[in-house]
């Protein structure tokens, strides 16, 4: 068997090889930094690369290992974080000019957990500004490109993380998903992306977009890698009041669970959607066949309020965002407009200069939806629709253990294709949004390539805190549908 290049190893392989001293963390980290140096200028997956810090960390971990001290399951393995997770002393921009120079004096819970597990931090990954976008084009640090075709977008908002993992510029990454921001870019970049149940992973230190929907999760090249990563970052945290106090199961063990007898629900509304591309439909059918071949059964289910999800989401998320982003006022940190003569002018100009058009648009919608006279008609109504959508899932999970749907309606589209038309851009999240509104977990797993050779993902959804079932089903798809793990890019 030909030797697999170092950067193409899976996260689990890399961790094992460091643990078994086949390679040092320094050599592993060096290899990845070299790859970043070569490929990142063309992909722009990283906003901040940390070569010195990463090498120092790797050296420290190698020394610790020499003393017989292994930090955790990621000991010595280099990875990246979406630039939404606060990192003490390392700038955390959230893709925005308003935070371009922000140095947090604290680590996010996710940051703490991956560092405590022994991971080496390669850098902070590009994203749509404040995670608002589906293409990573709204970043003030420039768009990220899809490593499968650099004329195309990688999806978003965790596009930098998906592109970095897909192009083997990291063994794994952690993204965030408010309406599909992990799953959709994972689908478009041909990698695995998992959004856990709301409350499974602490949101402490993760810059807030829409607090009732935001959830962190792993982006990796394989399902077992995603399971390993989720075990590392999941768990109760007293600093997040919405974080669930439940035990973290052994997700890795769940990946190999047989799917025989598993009831796969097919929500008819998702497959009847007008925007669904034939290539995506065909690829998802292949995933279904793979599951049925392994003994699962298919059942049609209905999620009747699906068509209302997008509207509800684009009222709830911007409303929460308008309030969450109000703190960027130029007083305590971040950008401040120069030369303002009074306070109101300073704040208004700071925010006008600091935020990009998409963020402003959402702040405007959200402020409007909450303002006097409109609350009941917009925000209040959307919260009720949210109840109906959650109830849809509850009854579907009476008939099925997991739901299988496309992750995105089409493969990756071209840069600039949808930037002028917000509504068309928003429609690319149509299959991923309901899951966030219901708070349930979802995973996107590669299930085919389009005729142009672009990756396509299948989305699997399960009931609250049933991530294990998702890993089992996604593992079964992954084993049955062999696809290239690393995007065919070379710098």
């Amino acid at each position: 068997m030909a030797d697999v290049p170092v950067h193409e190893w899976t996260l689990l392989e890399a961790a094992r090889k460091v643990r078994e001293k086949e390679i040092s963390s320094r050599d592993l980290t060096g290899a990845l930094l070299a790859r970043i140096e070569r490929l990142n200028p063309g992909i722009n997956a990283y906003i901040t690369v940390l070569p010195e810090r990463a090498m120092a960390q790797a050296a420290e971990l190698d020394e610790a290992q020499a003393r017989g001290e292994l930090r955790g399951p990621l000991h010595g393995v280099p990875m990246g974080l979406k630039d939404i997770f606060c990192t003490r002393g390392v700038r955390t921009t959230c893709g925005s000019r308003i935070l371009a120079d922000f140095l947090p004096p604290y680590d996010a819970c996710v940051t703490e957990k991956v560092l405590r597990a022994g991971a080496v931090l390669l850098g902070k990954q590009n994203m749509d500004e404040f995670a608002m976008g589906s293409s990573t084009e709204t970043s003030c640090f420039g768009a990220t490109r899809n490593p499968w075709d650099v004329t195309r977008i990688p999806g978003g908002s965790s596009g930098g993380t998906a592109a970095a993992v897909s192009a083997a510029m990291a063994f794994a990454g952690v993204g965030t998903d408010t309406g599909g921001s992990i799953r959709q870019p994972a689908s478009l970049c041909g990698v695995v992306g998992m959004k856990p149940t709301y409350g499974r992973v602490s949101r402490y230190g993760m810059v807030a977009f829409a607090s009732s929907l935001d959830q962190a999760g792993p982006i990796t090249r394989t399902v077992p890698d995603a399971a390993r990563m989720l075990s590392v970052i999941a768990g109760h945290d007293r600093r997040d009041s919405t974080c669930a106090d439940v035990p973290t199961p052994d997700y890795l063990a769940a990946v190999d669970r047989p799917v025989k007898g598993l009831r796969i629900g097919l929500p008819k509304e998702y497959f009847e959607s007008g925007g669904l591309s034939p290539a995506v439909k065909a690829a998802v059918s292949k995933a279904l066949s793979a599951l049925i071949d392994q003994g699962a059964t298919a059942v049609e289910v209905s999620l009747p309020h699906t068509t209302f999800a997008l509207s509800a989401y684009y009222l709830i998320a911007p409303a929460e965002a308008s309030s969450n982003l109000a703190r960027y006022d130029g007083v305590r940190y971040g950008h401040r407009a120069k030369g303002a003569s009074g306070l109101i002018e300073m704040m208004s100009r700071t925010r006008a200069e600091g935020f990009g058009p998409e963020v402003k648009r959402r702040i405007m919608i959200g402020t409007y939806a909450l303002s006097a006279g409109y609350y009941d008609a917009f925000y209040g109504k959307a919260q009720k629709v949210r109840t109906l959508i959650r109830d849809d899932f509850t009854s579907a999970f009476g008939k099925a253990d997991v739901l299988l749907t496309p992750t995105a309606p089409t493969p990756a589209f071209r840069l600039g294709e949808k930037t002028d038309d917000p509504l068309t851009m928003y429609l690319s999240d149509i299959f991923t949004i309901p899951c966030n509104l219901a708070g349930i977990p979802g995973i996107s797993v590669p299930c085919g390539l389009s005729p142009e050779g672009l990756p396509i993902g299948a989305q699997l959804l399960s009931n609250h805190f049933r991530e294990e079932t998702l890993f089992a089903a996604a593992g079964a798809v992954e084993r049955a549908v062999p696809l290239p793990r690393v995007s065919p890019i070379e710098g």
């Binding site: 996010a108 109000a326 609350y375």
Partner: protein, 471 residues
């Protein structure tokens, strides 16, 4: 036309906790600027609030003490507005679903007791403080100190049940006493731990509806609240009598000028866009928790007044003064237990020495001994006062001081006989006039005896002896 006022009061009380309501910073007053802050209370990106249990307990206990019904489910909401003392640009408060609803407290008025309704009690976080720089050339700026950000507050909103400034003052004092009794608030008005805003309107007497109200702010003492209410009521009545009409607005009390002044604000500033805070889940309060807290409610001022008055036979007014402080009432009861002879005198002494007692410089034994010796005639009222002062000065026991200073009265009739005989012998003319019917001369003889005894004679015994000897 005769007018009456309609007054509702909103009290903001700082809850007596060690740490802030949503983070672990100290809630203490007076630290250097921004010393008591952290990423959470300064609104840094991604950090989250976690609710302080003690703050909730303080608010629940207040609700129980004011007969409110504690809600099983209440919700924290965000009140959105921009200001440099509000780091997140929203204040976490309770809006649609507050912690407690529908209570009341009874206030004592010259004409009897009046019940004032309480609309709601809710919890919220405080904002920071702005210091304005002087207007020296080109350096006009404000400085933000965020120490107070997220200090726990409770807002208690009354029904518009008060009709006079006196009623407002009585309500405020009673509420203040309750909070201090419960130890949920230190009650310090100067440091802002107990703040009051008032809604005031006037209407022709006898009419049902409400007039347009003004909101009064910036009154930092009970007296100022009463004065501001008086001024504002007069202003509104005069305005209407002159053919004008009241404008709904916020007015600031200027204590120096003794007037309320309009605080102009843009209308849009009032669109707070409240919505449930997605970073906090609903506050659920189990019945068992409420019952557990109910057991911790001490005897409250109204109950105490009634019990002291009936139990010790002291006037309600005096009982009210004693009950204005839990410590004073406890002191009185301790002293009254040590000397059971005359609780009314003991009460008077406690009221007389109130400030000293509250500063912790007297023991109940001192007052009990002072009263006991006075009642037995061992010392005079004057001596009693002097002795307490000496206790405060020297810290020695009162009875040791009494003997040391020779302040014991001559109450022994036999010891007084000699002096009385001497005085009678020295004043034959007066004796004759007295015996001739000038009864008023008795005070002359008493005075002479007191002089002879250098003030130590017991005037009562002197009088009796004189009467007996003069026939």
């Amino acid at each position: 036309m005769e007018f009456e006022a309609v007054i509702g009061l909103e009290v903001h009380a700082q809850l007596l906790t060690e740490s802030k309501i949503f983070c672990s910073c100290s809630a203490k007053f007076g630290a250097p600027p921004n010393e008591n802050t952290c990423p959470v209370c300064t609104g840094m990106p991604g950090v989250l609030p976690v609710l302080n249990r003690k703050a909730v307990e303080c608010a629940i206990r207040t609700a129980l003490a004011t007969s409110c019904s504690v809600q099983r489910k209440s919700v924290f909401a965000r009140k959105n507005y921009f200001y440099p003392d509000l780091p997140k640009a929203y204040q976490i408060s309770q809006y649609e679903l507050p912690l407690a609803l529908g209570g009341h407290i009874d206030i004592e008025l010259p004409g009897g007791t009046k019940r004032i309704g309480i609309t709601r009690i809710h919890m919220e976080e405080d904002a920071g403080k702005l210091v304005h720089e002087g207007e020296f050339a080109g350096a006009q700026a404000s400085l933000a100190d965020l120490n107070r950000c997220s200090v726990p507050l409770m807002e208690i909103v009354s029904e518009p049940d008060m009709r006079t400034p006196e009623e407002g003052g009585a309500y405020l004092r009673r509420l203040h006493d309750i909070l201090v009794y419960l130890e949920v608030c230190d009650g310090n008005m100067e440091e802002g731990s107990f703040r009051c805003d008032a809604n005031v309107s006037v209407r022709p007497k006898g009419r049902e509806g409400f007039g347009t109200k003004a909101e009064l702010k910036n009154m930092n003492s009970f007296r100022n609240v009463e004065k501001a209410l008086e001024y504002e009521i007069r202003r509104q009545v005069e305005l209407i009598e002159d053919g004008g009409s009241v404008v709904q607005e916020t007015r600031l009390w200027d204590a120096n000028a003794g007037v309320t002044l309009s605080m102009r604000r843009k209308e849009e500033a009032h669109d707070y866009r409240y919505f449930p805070d997605p970073d906090l889940l609903p506050l659920l309060v189990a019945d068992e928790w409420v019952e557990e807290l109910r057991k911790t409610i001490p005897e409250l001022p109204a109950e105490k007044v009634a019990r002291l008055s009936a139990g010790y036979g002291i006037p309600r007014y005096d009982a009210g003064i004693l009950a204005s402080s839990r410590a004073l009432a406890d002191f009185f009861e301790a002293a009254a237990a040590l000397y059971r002879g005359n609780p009314k005198t003991t009460a008077n002494e406690c009221i007389h020495w109130k400030d000293v007692i509250l500063s912790g410089r007297l023991s109940p034994g001192t007052i009990a001994h002072a009263v006991e010796d006075r009642e037995s005639g061992t010392i005079s009222a004057t001596a009693s006062k002097k002795l307490v002062e000496l206790v405060l000065e020297t810290g020695k026991p009162i009875r040791a001081l009494r003997d040391e200073q020779g302040l014991t009265q001559l109450s022994d009739a036999s010891a007084l006989d000699a002096i009385v005989d001497r005085v009678i012998a020295a004043s034959p003319k007066e004796v004759e006039s007295y015996r001739g019917g000038k009864a008023g001369l008795l005070s002359y003889f008493v005075g002479q005896v007191m002089k002879e005894s250098r003030g130590k004679a017991n005037p009562k015994v002197v009088q009796e002896t004189l009467k007996r000897k003069l026939g």
